[in-house]
């Protein structure tokens, strides 16, 4: 199988910079997810690994070999595309067999490999159909089968689930992870969906503006965000970020006061706390504001509080109810608070 290394990768089109200075090492059999908003450079980075795009600078290295000058078709990677990219004129069987034919796998072995891939993706009954006669989920599975059929060194998946409905997406997520573990193939997966990233990844690479913001395990990324972008991108709803002044271990902003923070910090900082690390009420509350919205979902209640012109999201108990515009207090878990530099947005530790 394969280790992938991206070293100083840049991609520019004229003056437009798509990807800047991406350095990352992906271990053998690792499942890495590139996560970021659209236009952040994640797909371009993946296409450079595939060989469909050439880096302007830097090197793509697989198992110690520089791949920059090697054609996509000579790299041992298989890619799954957002739009499935099944060949419309071929049956599903022919689609799955196509990579085997192209790589000149002996004819006698092809059938068994196609059937095995079809079995893994539960497509055995649909092999005679054309892609147009399949549902979205089946087409996605067919694309997956075509990728796994020749057991490549690397899987690349470019938002493979974004055209599916929520229920199907969850089922496919489980299937993809299962297959990846079964085949033990290094996988790079691109998505803008943080749930997909959190559930699938061994490590997440968060990108924004063509640059990597943070690389880490899902837990790292969630609990220990490197900057305000990551903090504000991950979580649903994401981390609350409040700008305020820091003096002698006390953070103050309008309606908020938190004591007992590191005394070494001073000046303007951003205070971050997650909605689920808040408790309504408490003996020594940190925040006072007015109720702006109450949204019960059954298993919990989303509470929106207006504090000094800003909205703060809190996950409250499922039985919690409150009248709008009434005053409310909230206490944070001090151990879970994150502080960021107000200017650079970088984490202060």
């Amino acid at each position: 199988m394969a280790r992938i290394e991206l070293s100083g990768i840049q991609k520019r089109w004229g003056k437009v910079v798509g990807v800047r200075d991406v350095d990352i090492e992906i271990a053998d059999e690792e499942f890495v997810v590139f996560l970021g908003p659209s236009g952040c450079g994640k797909t371009t980075t993946m296409r450079m690994i595939a060989g469909l795009e050439e880096p302007t600078e830097g090197e793509v290295i697989m198992d110690g070999e520089v791949m920059n000058d090697i054609d996509a078709r000579d790299r041992d990677v298989a890619m799954v595309f957002q739009g499935y990219a099944l060949y419309p004129n071929m049956t599903i069987y022919e689609n799955i067999r196509f990579p085997l034919r192209m790589r000149e796998v002996p004819k006698g072995e092809q059938d068994a490999l196609v059937r095995r891939a079809a079995e893994m993706t539960e497509l055995t009954d649909y092999l005679d159909r054309k892609p147009s006669a399949l549902s979205g989920g089946q087409r996605q599975r067919a694309a997956l089968a075509r990728a796994i059929v020749r057991q490549p060194q690397v899987f690349l998946m470019d938002e493979p689930l974004s055209n599916l409905d929520a229920k199907l997406r969850q089922a496919m997520r489980v299937q993809i992870k299962h297959i990846q573990r079964q085949l033990k193939v290094t996988t790079v997966y691109v998505t803008h969906d943080q749930i997909e990233a959190m559930t699938l990844a061994d490590r997440i690479v968060i990108m924004e503006g063509g640059a990597i913001q943070q690389i880490g395990t899902p837990d790292d990324i969630y609990n220990d965000p490197a900057n305000t972008f990551v903090a504000g991108f991950i979580g649903s709803p994401p981390m609350n970020l409040v700008e305020g002044a820091m003096d002698a271990g006390t953070f103050t902003a309008q309606g908020i006061e938190v004591t007992g923070l590191p005394a070494a910090l001073s000046g303007n900082v951003v205070l971050g706390f997650r909605p689920e690390d808040c408790t309504v009420g408490g003996n020594t509350p940190h925040l006072t504001g007015s109720v702006f919205g109450v949204e019960p979902t059954g298993d919990l209640t989303y509470l929106t509080i207006k504090v000094g012109g800003q909205q703060i999201e809190v996950k409250a108990d499922r039985a919690f109810r409150a009248e709008l515009d009434t005053e409310i207090t909230v206490t944070f878990d001090p151990a879970r608070i994150c502080l960021f530099d107000a200017k650079s947005g970088e984490r202060l530790r």
Partner: protein, 281 residues
């Protein structure tokens, strides 16, 4: 209420059929007229009084095949047209692939240049083409007609196929590349099957243009050796017997039938091709 509504609906349906039927009759009138003239005796063609129920006669039909090399003209037409379309496809498909898929300097200029060859009146190049073919020793042959028809149609065949190729998602080619296919494989196994309707449309339009081509055919086919239906039709007057209108009508009908059959057979592709390929592109 309901029955009234049903009645007015059936009335509007009848009206629709009446209008469409009338229009169809109007369009088919020349063809029907040909047939009516072609299959009546010569004596019933020019009369002072109209004849509404002419006598049916195959005289003209047998005459055109016995007295003139009609089969040869038909064969020349078919050979030249099919040959020219094949030449067009062999050249246009790779050209369209390049124009739609690769980025290189001057690509759009080349595309425009190809199209611009259709923008001038054919008569402008008639004389140079005549000398060109004469010097190459190609006058009066079906091969020359093939080449000239192919040259005339190449630009828009390229253009139609190109616009179809542009509609194929790039992802499909990326997938084929990562699956290990080279450019020619991709063209042959992925692109061409996907744009088959476009290829058929372009071919049929090229056929129609070629079968109707007159100027260059007349120029190059100086003897009946290379005459096609269009030139034969123009030269066909009946010889020493004076104008034989019923024979002329039948020859005209014969020139019309092949195109008619082809168009009817592929009309589904054709309408889609004209709207999607040619207009949108």
């Amino acid at each position: 209420m309901a029955s009234q509504r049903r009645k007015s609906r059936s009335e509007s349906l009848t009206l629709r059929y009446a209008i469409l039927g009338g229009w169809a009759l109007f369009c088919l009138m020349p063809v029907l007229w040909f047939l009516s003239i072609g299959f009546r005796p010569r004596t019933e063609i020019i009369t002072a009084q109209p004849i509404y129920w002419p006598t049916f006669s195959l005289d003209a039909f047998w005459m055109i095949f016995e007295d003139w090399p009609m089969w040869k003209y038909l064969r020349n037409s078919v050979l030249a047209i099919i040959g020219s379309v094949l030449i067009d496809l062999v050249l246009a498909i790779p050209a369209a692939y390049s124009l739609s898929r690769y980025t290189y300097r001057g690509r759009d200029d080349i595309g425009f240049y190809i199209l611009s060859t259709r923008m001038m009146a054919p008569a402008i190049v008639a004389i140079p083409i005549f000398f060109l073919f004469r010097n190459a020793g190609l006058l009066d042959s079906v091969w020359a007609l093939m080449l000239i028809y192919a040259a005339i149609n190449l630009s828009f065949v390229t253009w139609i196929i190109r616009s179809y190729m542009m509609d194929i998602p790039k992802e499909l080619e990326d997938a084929a590349k990562t699956d290990g296919a080279g450019d020619l494989r991709i063209l042959w196994e992925i692109i061409i099957p996907a744009i088959l309707p476009g290829i058929i449309t372009a071919s049929v339009i090229a056929m129609i243009f070629a079968i109707n081509e007159f100027l260059f055919t007349l120029l190059i086919a100086s003897t009946p050796n290379a005459y096609t239906m269009s030139v034969a039709l123009a030269n066909f007057t009946g010889g020493s017997d004076g104008l034989i209108y019923n024979a002329i009508a039948l020859v005209a009908f014969l020139a019309f039938v092949p195109v008619f059959i082809v168009v009817v057979a592929i009309q589904k592709h054709l309408s889609r091709g004209l709207t999607m390929g040619a207009v949108k592109g």
